[in-house]
């Protein structure tokens, strides 16, 4: 570390899973020194989830963890060891910020709650990221992101009108809350720069995620209405949906909003449609949407999604390939932005790490280190960063403090 807006900022990172580590990723990618405190006995969830190298499980063989954790150090520590405090005290004294995502109460047990941290560092900035917040009747209930998307309402709004609601493919709320948590963390850093005061930040994934459903929530609080799942349709656009293309499970999304776009669309697929009374206006098209979609698909089935997208775009119509993981890896636009950082991981070899969606003109995020193996930097952190002597480190090591 040492370069970028957060050069010299020290982050003690107790987060695990997805939401927490993604929050501190913004700090790591822009130059902060981020030390993950990990445990061999209870490794981070993404280290024990597939895919694994050669399909053999192992905490250092997990692509899921590596993909999301560039630019961070890893120190392994048995937080329940009687001598763990000797290491923790030095880590806390070193830290400008502490981030955690354990269930509420856990940090208290280890003497790492906000009040204890403030005794060491009065202007500490602390982020506590959790499913539902640090207080309240459900505070200690950690459902994690996968069921949480049901609780927030995303599943209610996903599905076909003639089918059931559906779960989401991922812990979707885990991807939303890190932006809010990071905004708070960086704003707190700036606030401290200006005022000398630290900050305590309580970030609930449920509370942040609901902002992505805000208009639907207001439809209920203002109008008493719940519109539910609409498939892929849109009240003010037609055609609007996803159409099957040539190939196995290949699709292209198309959205036509204006009369000009509709004319251009027909010019490409079937000029007769623009004169057909069933389809001549938006209202008529919505009335006959199912029929129109069938006709459109008879056209798109003859082309690859790439061809459909480029032909539509050439005529000013919004269209996008429904991309799978292979498509994303080869996406020329993402490559242009150097979105995936290829770095050499000790076990996985050369591996793509998630970059940043924003490019800052003067201080862009940069790939400095691959994701760490568990405990890879224990000795380095203790002796080079915390300034322990070799003897002291050895003593703690032999006592099993780092197991």
């Amino acid at each position: 570390m040492g370069q970028g807006p957060f050069a010299g900022v020290n982050v003690l990172d107790f987060t695990w899973g997805l939401a927490g580590p993604l929050s501190t990723k913004y700090l790591a990618d822009y130059g902060a020194t981020v030390i993950r405190v990990e445990s061999l006995a209870r490794p981070c969830g993404t280290r024990v989830s597939p895919p694994f190298k050669d399909r053999v499980p192992g905490v250092d063989r997990a692509g899921y963890f590596v993909f999301f954790n560039a630019n961070k150090y890893s120190l392994s520590l048995n937080l329940n060891h009687p001598r763990a405090k000797e290491v923790l005290n030095r880590l806390v004294a070193w830290a400008d910020m502490v981030a955690e995502s354990y269930s509420p109460g856990t940090m208290e047990r280890w003497g790492l709650d906000y009040e204890s941290l403030r005794k060491v560092r009065p202007d500490i900035i602390m982020l506590r990221s959790s499913s539902q917040g640090q207080d309240g009747p459900h505070a200690s209930f950690s459902a994690f992101g996968i069921p949480l998307v049901g609780l927030a309402g995303f599943s209610y709004f996903t599905g076909w009108p003639d089918g059931s609601c559906l779960p989401l493919p991922s812990a979707y709320s885990d991807l939303i809350s890190p932006r809010f948590a990071a905004a708070a963390l960086v704003a707190a850093l700036d606030y401290r720069r200006r005022t000398g005061m630290g900050q305590y930040i309580d970030c609930s994934q449920l509370e942040t995620s609901l902002h992505f459903l805000a208009p639907a929530m207001l439809d209920y609080t203002f109008n008493g209405r719940q519109t539910g799942r609409q498939g892929n349709s849109c009240a003010y656009a037609c055609p609007h949906g996803v159409f099957r293309c040539q190939g196995e499970d290949r699709w292209c999304a198309v959205a036509v909003f204006s009369d000009e776009e509709w004319q251009a669309f027909c010019g490409l697929c079937q000029p007769g449609w623009s004169r057909d009374p069933r389809f001549s206006t938006l209202r008529e098209r919505k009335k006959n949407e199912a029929e129109l979609n069938k006709l459109i698909e008879e056209w798109t089935m003859n082309y690859s999604p790439e061809e459909v997208m480029s032909q539509m775009q050439a005529r000013g119509v919004a269209a996008g390939i429904v991309q799978n993981a292979r498509d994303l890896r080869h996406d020329p636009q993402l490559q242009e932005r150097a979105y995936f950082w290829e770095m050499n991981h000790p076990v996985l070899g050369s591996f793509p790490h998630l970059g940043q969606a924003s490019i800052l003109s003067q201080t862009p995020a940069s790939p400095v280190m691959p994701a760490p193996c568990l405990g890879q930097h224990t000795e380095h952190v203790c002796t080079q960063i915390l300034g322990m002597s070799d003897d002291e480190f050895l003593g703690l090591y032999q006592a099993g403090v780092f197991d």
């Binding site: 993604l22 969830g45 989830s49 895919p51 692509g63 590596v66 917040g133 207080d135 309240g136 009747p137 459902a143 996968i146 069921p147 995303f154 209610y156 709004f157 599905g159 059931s164 779960p167 493919p169 939303i176 905004a183 960086v186 200006r194 005022t195 900050q199 305590y200 309580d202 509370e207 609901l210 208009p215 929530m217 207001l218 439809d219 209920y220 539910g228 609409q230 892929n232 949906g241 996803v242 999304a253 959205a255 909003f257 000013g316 269209a319 429904v322 991309q323 799978n324 292979r326 994303l328 890896r329 020329p332 636009q333 993402l334 242009e336 969606a357 490019i359 800052l360 003067q362 201080t363």
Partner: protein
């Protein structure tokens, strides 16, 4: 919380102009929520985003768009036609008096008007300009037309959502630009922080497509390492365990999301579930014999998965979603009900934390409930309704730029504001 901290906002003192449409509104909302003074700049007659529904009482009026209300709390609002020479001059003058400018026009549009980053930063070298676009300011897809559904497709999310034998699905509430705008908020604050040492602003290029890729979680690693493409699995999910796992379950009156979590974390939930099955007389020999505390469901075979699925489905169908959630909280199960907005409003955790805030709408004659704090910290919360069209023209043009009443009137008549 600590009572001795001064009650100031984290971004108190920062000022910015927001020229975005629906592609970037949430960015300004977040910055305003952190205490920055954010001035929404709309074309005369109102921003196009005011045409997006739903509408209060279904009246499609620019001052009744709930979409607009949701994403424009806590801002000021002025009108300005930046396609006029006078408008461009006014914008340049305003830019010299703020810390950041947010925009979401097509790449190159502001440059053509003499309002691009290089021009604005000449006037104000400390200015941060954040540009939010579907794909970014350069690259092969730079000029592609986009909308929510095409971006949810291009970002990878849709491929994995829905039933295997039906088309990919988006979420029926637009999401793509919210991801972009929230990324933009973080990047803007990073640039403001950076400026405190560098003394200079910078130009930020935010891609909506790129901001969606993380929602595919471990799909890219699966392709990279095992040449496996994770696809749609309907009520199941793939990619977290050896066998596909059911996620969506029927209760007696709706649906819940529950999954057999793996590893040490899952062990607790799975053991609790086994205990509950036993209490209800549904535990068979396999359930009773298994040492759930040490059983890693992530490694379970399809046979085990299917076996448990049958028993759990029976259990869940006996109870309402509310009962299942109550038990989940009590026993520590990875289960939540599929909630509608009405049910979310009744959620006791959100109520206990005073999450819903009442916002006064004088023009509509009452208060309405809105989602509240993004997070909790020492800063005070306040919630002011979205601005009316041109509501703060006088305050900003006269107060900030020293224009007179007469000048304002003539600019209005000329259509500049």
């Amino acid at each position: 919380m600590t009572p001795d901290q001064p009650a100031e906002s984290l971004l108190g003192g920062y000022r910015g102009l927001d020229l975005t449409d629906e592609k970037g509104l949430l960015c300004g909302r977040i910055l305003a929520g952190l205490g920055a003074e954010v001035i929404k700049v709309e074309r005369p007659g109102g921003d196009t985003a005011r045409r997006i529904g739903p509408f209060y009482q279904d009246i499609p009026h620019p001052e009744r768009s709930l979409f607009w209300f949701a994403h424009n709390l806590n801002r000021k609002g002025i009108t300005l036609d930046i396609e006029t020479k006078d408008g461009q001059e006014l914008l340049r003058r305003l830019s010299s008096r703020v810390d950041f400018v947010l925009e979401s026009f097509s790449p190159g549009y502001l440059e053509e008007l003499g309002l691009g980053y290089s021009r604005l930063s000449e006037v104000n070298p400390r200015l941060v300009v954040t540009s939010i676009t579907p794909f970014g300011l350069s690259g092969p897809y730079r000029d592609h037309k986009a909308s929510d559904i095409t971006l949810m497709a291009m970002g990878g999310y849709m491929y994995m959502t829905g039933d295997p034998d039906r088309p990919p699905l988006r979420i029926s509430v637009e999401q793509a630009y919210l991801h972009a705008a929230s990324e933009a908020a973080v990047a803007t604050i990073i640039a403001l922080y950076c400026r405190s040492t560098s003394g200079e602003g910078q130009h930020i290029d935010v891609s909506a497509q790129a901001s969606l890729v993380s929602s595919t979680v471990n799909a890219i690693p699966f392709w990279e390492m095992n040449r496996v493409i994770l696809g749609r699995a309907g009520p199941y999910r793939v990619g977290l365990s050896a066998a596909k796992q059911r996620q969506l379950w029927e209760s007696s009156d709706g649906y819940v999301i529950f999954y057999f979590a793996g590893g040490a974390f899952g062990a607790k939930s799975n053991a609790a579930l086994a205990g509950w099955l036993d209490e209800e007389g549904l535990a068979d020999d396999f359930v009773i014999a298994t040492d759930w505390g040490n059983f890693d469901m992530a490694a379970a075979t399809e046979e085990v998965e299917g076996h448990l699925e049958k028993l759990v489905a029976l259990l869940f169908r006996r109870h309402t979603s509310a009962e299942l959630y109550e038990q989940a909280v009590k026993r520590g199960l990875t289960l939540c009900p599929v909630s509608s907005p009405a049910e979310v409003l009744k959620n006791p955790q959100l109520k206990a934390r005073d999450y819903w805030v009442k916002v006064r709408h004088d023009e509509l004659g009452q208060d309405f409930d809105y989602p509240g704090p993004f997070f909790r910290c020492s800063a005070p919360d306040q919630y002011r309704r979205a601005p009316l069209i041109g509501e703060h023209n006088r305050e900003i043009y006269e107060g900030d730029l020293g224009l007179s009443d007469a000048q304002l009137v003539s600019l209005k008549q000329a259509g500049v504001i």
